[in-house]
């Protein structure tokens, strides 16, 4: 059973931004979702786990190996897909994947050839394998990125906002690949898309302003909200009043009017009881993220 333990991790950038504050997390084998708004510190955390950045304090252990002290050891087990990236434009897809396979230590020629073929097929790029990557669309590049992250059968997979820029079909495909490989590894998936987590993850954490606010299984967390989430359609100018009277966790435009989601332990008249989902957990944990900005 593999295990990633993050304890007391803090990071403050030279411009004063505190990206991580005393982060403690325990990640077990399987898919782990890291949810949080933009700027919450997700990418910093991911990069730190991926040995690309050092922390000010705290440590990260993978199977009791301290990753900051044993970077090379960890890199051998790591598959990483950063949030934004590109490839050498003049190389073909084949050359590119082949290149990263080498970097990851797959030096046996036949094995590598086989693996590159396998992954190009898996990410649906086999037919484009001879094309220059420079001409690829964002989605194609994303798929190639996924292939390079997974090609060496890593034990620890870190994917940062992997579905951003993918169309629904590609996203689906990606989810399939991840769930296929995710069984015997630790896969950390950082995202701001709640559905990614609810679709895939058995465990999750919500992070905001550099702090872990919640950690648990998505199912259990959703369960906790059963019977406490209410919704109602109101007029736009009523929003202020509702916000002051109730604990509004999010509000959406709904056919010209506004639909507010309210948390309440007790029954609310005039409101409709809603089956809670992970989004409600998210907005409950991170207040004011789901608000329609009040008019300005």
């Amino acid at each position: 059973m593999k295990k990633l333990t993050i304890s007391g991790l803090s990071k403050t950038y030279s411009n004063g931004t505190t990206a991580l504050k005393e982060v403690n997390l325990e990640v077990n084998q399987g898919m782990f979702g890291l949810l949080g708004p933009n700027g919450a510190g997700k990418s910093t955390l991911m990069r730190t786990i991926a040995t690309l950045q050092s922390s000010d304090s705290g440590n990260i252990k993978f199977d009791s190996i301290d990753i900051q002290e044993n970077q090379t050891k960890i890199k051998k087990k790591l598959g990483f897909l950063p949030q934004s990236f590109d490839f050498y434009p003049n190389l073909s897809a084949w050359d590119t994947l082949n290149y990263y396979a080498i970097l990851k230590g797959i030096t046996n020629h036949n094995e590598r050839k086989n693996l590159v073929t396998e992954w190009l097929v898996k990410v649906n790029l086999y037919d484009q394998r001879k094309k220059r990557v420079g001409g690829f669309s964002g989605g194609m590049k994303q798929r190639l990125g996924i292939a390079q992250a997974l090609i060496a059968n890593p034990e620890l997979v870190i994917v940062d906002e992997p579905t951003a820029g993918l169309d629904p079909k590609e996203r689906n495909h990606f989810h399939n690949i991840l769930s296929e490989i995710g069984e015997d590894k630790i896969v950390i998936l950082s995202t701001h898309i709640v559905d990614d987590v609810s679709d895939l993850c058995t465990d999750m954490a919500i992070i905001n302003q550099g702090q872990v606010i919640l950690q648990g299984s998505p199912l259990a967390e959703v369960e906790k909200l059963t019977g406490r989430i209410w919704r109602k359609i109101i007029k736009k100018d009523e929003l202020d009043w509702y916000s002051s009277e109730f604990e509004v966790i999010s509000s959406h435009l709904y056919m010209g009017d506004i639909r507010v989601i309210v948390y309440s332990d007790s029954d609310l008249s005039g409101f409709e009881l809603k089956t809670p989902d992970l989004e409600d957990v998210y907005f409950k944990t991170i207040p004011h993220q789901g608000d329609i900005v009040g008019g300005e």
Partner: protein
């Protein structure tokens, strides 16, 4: 609106730290440079090429101009990056979509940005001037070296040169920025422009190219050079560059081009998104597996062992190499390189505009120089490409999160750089071989191409290792490039800040000179010791580079420092340790060789030794000494061991009329091996190891006329890895001054610079004694302890070589496997002898004098160097005939020329013996019309010394060498004219005159008239040639030769006092008609210069004749010793000639069209001259054959393009 835009853009630049950093850099550069020149670091001010004289001020106008314009090259590098930053900020910040959708007129925006960018650059560069200005007021500098502050000295070059160059360079960067929309390309083109420009600058050695390059030089530096090369010291102090002549044309030309480029840029400037190239053409052929054929393995076997790393390295390298060689910039670089190699080939080893045969070492040596210069730039650029490659493609996180060691990346970078430069070398070699074959040279030595390739790649590895470190410690790639350049510029200046020892001279490898005669000689042991030393040093830096290799997200300074002491792998620790041990060991070995086996002194130590010597022993100068009358030497040369053993029996005679009881002598090296004995009892009074001085007290005085015998022996063992270019395995040549004891005060120990003398409290010193100084005239200028001596010598060498000394071979024998040669001279000669030994081949001939004396002519040369033997032999014969007829019959029975390796390029005349360098004629290529036959000239010159030095020798006073060098030049020119005709001589004299006007401007003390020349080469060779040859045109050859014959008759083989120039000129003036006495006096005893130029030539055809009409401007001026000129009236006969083509022996030859009507009386100012010629003139001009000392050699002739009909 527009002003808001300007304000906004200014704000953008002024908010950038780099703006201030650059300003600070330029300011400190100016400040430090001026301080360095003023001697802030070493205590002695540095004389640059342009401020040689003691009378020149450190803040002379030319110094300021040269410093600021030389730094224009740095400017070229810096503007590109800076300008592209403001021009392309929308692209690099990815905000172009925002800006381009706003309502701004595109031209307005571009103009605003250009205006702001260029003015800011101008502002930044002005800080250089500020630094230069301020340095003058540094309280620690000696204020006497500065002249009063004058702002114009700083502003004039700033506006005329720097600002125009900024405008010119910016135009190209703007265009490239607008076309490519990429900063990278602008930076690359900046570096490329720098590269091409410096390379071109290095190649205008030919006189005929000077004007052309002055006009077309993009940044005007060679224009400046040409405009100021004949400025005198006085002018150099205060003259401002005028906006006229070449400079004006050059600036107008390039500003015009720049304007066009700007207009084009505006035309091409569009608000447009950068095009993404679509990869339609696909060259990659993937022969990989079929889609369906893969097998899925659950487990991937990765064994992390050494082989894995090796395979990673090899693949990483392959990809890297592929990416690099496919890049546009690499291709551009390659093309520029090829063009450059091609254009440089014919410029190798040019003397008198004449090239040499394409022997392999000439090609490889020059090719290596070019590739190395390219490499420095190449490494600077491409190291940044490689290190920043993944970052600029935004895929660094992939690589950084892979288990790929930094060492693999770094090693691959160095390999990529080295191998791609090796490819450049191979391309260059192919071109070189092609060139050799093209010229019909088939004796190609391919091994030299290999060896020089190796010699090239050693520094390439070092530079690459350093570059990788620099790129990893600097925050961006341009900063890394600048640091790299800055570093390698800085290391050149280490001696100037007091770090003189070779151990400090970073990455400076000792020179290696290949010679046909001596191969690589004794250079390699020392060379490779330094290679080990600096290679280990650079590898230590390289390991630091690996440690500091940038990975992951941008990390603070602290994190970088932490990498230095944290996380070292065992391999890294071991390598660092090993390198450190090698570095220290090789460093110690160098120190042992430099300081223990040989003597090492800093410049300061040597200076102080000299000062103490003078203070302590100056009184010895007045001490009367016996003089050497007989010399019998035994010189044993050991070519394999590079050792020399000498011994000698000298007879000294008291030629004074007082008894002498003290004997002093100086030996060459006072090593333990020196031994001596006397035929008289003596005791040693002083033995000073510092100066190799012995002072003996004779037990009984040496009475007037009495003699004593002095025996000495010495052994010079080759020390350590010492490079000896005198004693060679094949091609030994050294003269007797390297080992003979000198029985007189060693004046050469004294410091000659009056500036330094003053610092040490010594009285100012004249370079030479006055002409009427009778004491000084007791010596000739070759030796101070003898007059004419009887000479014999036994010279021994290995059995396969021939050893030669002056005199005639009377015996030779072999003993103990060594050959011995006995030479005896049949009459007294000067006490100055040469010794040569090599495996010679001998070219023999004979010459018979009018009186029937047979003279054996022999050229001892290296087998294979037969190219110009005929020409040299011809010069010997023609010279012997001419000199014997006109001066005196040749005094010897034999004349020998002995080739020696090209480590020095001179020939030196000893009685019946002339050692002659491999590098000044033996391989000259003399086919083709425009070539100058300098082997012929050098031979004739050295032969003439058999009279002018070895028969008539000047006293050791001012003007001494007039009677040797100037007369040898005259004699050789006369012989050469017989062979080549007067028109060709004009081309030759052009070089001589040019060397004179350039030479006088780098005079270190004061220019003397020819009659008082103080060993100033530009006077006694170059001015001497022009004066003697010009005078011949005025008074006739016979008159001069009569005078010279009288000089030989009267002063040949004379006893002291020796002839001075007054006595010589008396003989000469006797032959000068009264009407020309003034001219002769001006030529010899004054510094008179002319400025004769032709402004217009028209030719009209009148019946069968051609009328040539010229407009001529003439001025004449008198100059003082530092070049302050005053105009003097001119009313003289000056030659005005037209030239025509004539067929002589079937060859088209340029001849004078008006041979009998050549002299015209010209006055100061404008003159009109016309005359008729009967054949079609092609060229005409005033004083076109350079009879007079003309300040500008380039404006005397004009080509005639059309012949007009006059109705």
């Amino acid at each position: 609106m527009f002003f808001n835009l300007l304000a906004y853009e200014y704000k953008y630049l002024l908010r950038r730290v780099s703006t201030y950093v650059y300003a600070l850099i330029f300011f400190s550069l100016g400040f430090l440079l001026m301080n360095a020149f003023a001697g802030a670091f070493t205590g002695i001010r540095i004389h640059t090429m342009n401020s040689g004289a003691e009378q020149s001020f450190t803040n002379s106008s030319i110094n300021i101009m040269m410093i600021s314009s030389a730094l224009n090259l740095l400017l070229i590098l810096f503007i590109g990056g800076y300008l592209s930053d403001i021009l392309l900020k929308d692209f690099s910040h990815n905000s172009y979509q925002l800006v381009y959708t706003k309502q701004i007129q595109k031209n307005k925006l571009l103009f605003a940005r250009l205006f702001v960018g260029i003015t800011t650059v101008i502002g930044i560069f002005f800080f250089l001037q500020l630094g230069l200005m301020l340095a003058q007021f540094s309280p620690w500098l000696e204020s006497k070296q500065f002249q009063p502050f004058n702002a114009l000295y700083y502003l004039n070059p700033f506006f005329k040169i720097s600002v125009t160059n900024i405008l010119i360079a910016s135009s190209f960067y703007t265009l490239i920025a607008i076309i490519s929309k990429k900063k990278l390309y602008v930076n690359m083109s900046a570096v490329l422009m720098y590269l091409v420009y410096t390379a071109i600058m290095a190649f205008n050695s030919k006189l005929e190219l000077k004007e052309i390059s002055a006009l077309f030089d993009m940044f005007g530096l060679s224009t400046l050079g040409l405009m100021t090369e004949n400025w005198t010291i006085a002018q150099r102090n205060t003259e401002l560059l005028p906006f006229s002549s070449y400079f004006m044309y050059n600036r107008l030309l390039w500003l015009g081009i720049a304007l066009l480029v700007y207009l084009l840029s505006f035309k091409l400037y569009k608000f447009e998104f950068p095009l993404i190239k679509s990869g339609s053409k696909e060259k990659n052929k993937v022969k990989e597996a079929d889609k369906a054929s893969y097998v899925h393995y659950g487990v991937i076997s990765i064994n992390w062992n050494f082989m894995t790393y090796l395979k990673q390295l090899s693949h990483y390298f392959k990809i890297e190499f592929k990416i690099l060689t496919r890049s546009v910039i690499f291709k551009i670089f390659g093309v520029v390189f090829i063009l450059f190699v091609l254009s440089s080939l014919s410029n190798y080893s040019v003397i008198y505009d004449t090239a040499v045969h394409p022997v392999t070492y000439i090609i490889t040596e020059n090719l290596k120089g070019i590739v190395l210069a390219f490499s420095v730039l190449y490494i600077a650029i491409f190291s940044s490409e490689l290190v920043w490659r993944s970052r600029s493609s935004n895929c660094d996180f992939f690589e950084d999160s892979s288990p790929l060691r930094n060492s693999i990346k770094a090693i691959s970078h160095v390999s990529t750089l080295t191998i791609s430069i090796a490819i450049l070398w191979i391309i260059g070699s192919i071109i070189g071989v092609g060139y050799q074959l093209y010229l019909g040279f088939y004796n190609i030595d391919f091994s030299l191409y290999l060896i020089y390739g190796g010699l090239l790649l050693i520094p390439v590895v070092m530079y690459s290792a350093v570059a990788i470190l620099f790129q990893n410690i600097m925050p961006n790639r341009m900063a890394g490039i600048l640091l790299f350049f800055g570093f390698f510029t800085f290391v050149d200046y280490l001696p100037y800040i007091g770090l003189e020892h070779p151990l400090w001279q970073m990455f400076d490898l000792p020179g290696v000179i290949f010679s046909d005669m001596n191969g690589f000689g004794s250079f390699l042991p020392k060379y490779f010791t330094y290679v080990i030393y600096w290679l280990s040093f650079s590898l230590m830096l390289f390991i630091l580079g690996i440690r500091l290799y940038r990975t992951g997200a941008n990390q603070g300074f602290k994190a970088r420092v932490r990498k230095l002491y944290h996380g070292w792998t065992l391999a890294e620790q071991i390598s660092l340790g090993v390198m450190l041990i090698i570095f220290i060991a090789s460093g110690s070995y160098i120190f042992h060789n430099t300081n223990v086996l040989n003597t090492y002194k800093t410049q300061k130590q040597s200076r102080e030794l000299s000062v103490n010597f003078e203070k302590e022993y100056k009184h010895l100068e007045k001490l009367n000494q016996p003089r050497v009358t007989d010399v019998d030497l035994n010189v044993q040369i050991y070519p394999n061991e590079l050792d020399v053993q000498v011994s000698g029996d000298l007879i000294l005679q008291n030629k004074q009329n007082v008894a002498l009881d003290t004997l002093i002598f100086f030996t060459n090296k006072s090593k333990d091996n020196f031994k001596f004995s006397l035929s008289k009892e003596y005791e040693i009074l002083t033995q000073d190891e510092d100066y190799n001085l012995f002072m003996l007290k004779l037990a009984s005085p040496l009475l007037p006329g009495d003699t004593l015998t002095f025996k000495f022996s010495d052994y010079y063992a080759h020390q350590g890895y010492e490079v000896d270019t005198n004693i060679c395995e094949n091609g030994t040549f050294f003269n007797s001054s390297t080992f003979m004891p000198e029985f007189s005060y060693a004046e050469h120990y004294e410091i000659s610079s009056n500036e330094i003398r003053k610092k040490y409290g010594l009285e100012p010193k004249e370079r030479m004694a006055e002409r009427d100084d009778l004491k000084a005239r007791g010596n000739h200028y070759i030796s101070k302890d003898s007059d004419w001596v009887n000479f014999s010598a036994t010279v021994g060498t290995s059995s396969d070589q021939i050893a030669v000394a002056p005199g005639y071979l009377v015996d030779s024998w072999e003993k103990d496997g060594r050959k011995q040669f006995r030479y005896v001279m049949d009459h007294p000669i000067l006490k100055f002898f040469s010794f040569s030994s090599a495996r010679y081949e001998i070219e023999k001939d004979t010459w018979v004098s009018n009186s029937g004396k047979e003279v054996a002519l022999e050229i001892y040369h290296h087998p294979g160097h037969e190219y110009n033997l005929a020409s040299m032999m011809k010069a010997l014969k023609m010279g012997l005939t001419y000199y014997s007829e006109n001066f005196m019959e040749y005094p010897h029975k034999q004349m020998r020329i002995l080739e020696f390796p090209r480590y020095s390029t001179f020939a030196q005349s000893f009685p019946n013996t002339v050692p002659y360098s491999e590098g000044i004629g033996f391989i000259a290529r003399l086919d083709g019309q425009e070539k100058q036959d300098y082997p012929f000239f050098v031979t004739a010159h050295e032969l003439a010394h058999q009279w002018w030095a070895h028969v008539v020798i000047g006293a050791d006073v001012k003007g001494a060498v007039l009677m040797s060098e100037a007369l040898a030049q005259y004699s050789a020119l006369s012989v050469m004219e017989e062979e080549y005709g007067e028109v060709k001589m004009g081309d030759f004299l052009k070089h001589e005159l040019h060397s004179y006007v350039v030479g006088r401007s780098s005079e270190s003390s004061k220019e003397m008239p020819l009659s008082q020349v103080e060993n100033q080469q530009y006077i006694h060779y170059n001015k001497g040639s022009v004066v003697m040859y010009g005078l011949k045109a005025y008074i006739g050859e016979d008159a001069i030769n009569t005078a010279l014959k009288n000089v030989v008759d009267k002063y040949g083989y004379q006893e002291p006092p020796y002839i001075n120039s007054e006595e010589f000129l008396t003989e000469l003036y006797r032959e000068v008609p009264d009407s020309l006495q003034f001219l002769a006096k001006e030529m010899f005893e004054d510094i008179i210069l002319y400025s004769n130029n032709v402004s217009k030539v028209e030719v009209f055809k009148e019946d069968e004749l051609f009328k040539v009409e010229l407009e001529i401007e003439c001025y004449k001026m008198r100059s003082d010793s530092i070049g302050n000129e005053t105009q003097v009236p001119l009313d003289e006969w000056i030659e005005v000639l037209a030239f025509t083509d004539k067929f002589v022996n079937g060859e088209k030859t340029k001849v004078v069209a008006n041979p009998d009507n050549r002299w015209f009386k010209l006055q100061s100012g404008k003159n009109k001259v016309s005359f008729y010629v009967d054949s079609k003139p092609i060229e005409a001009g005033v004083d076109p054959l350079y009879r007079l000392l003309d300040k500008n050699v380039f404006d005397n002739r004009k080509t005639i393009k059309e012949i007009k009909e006059r109705l």
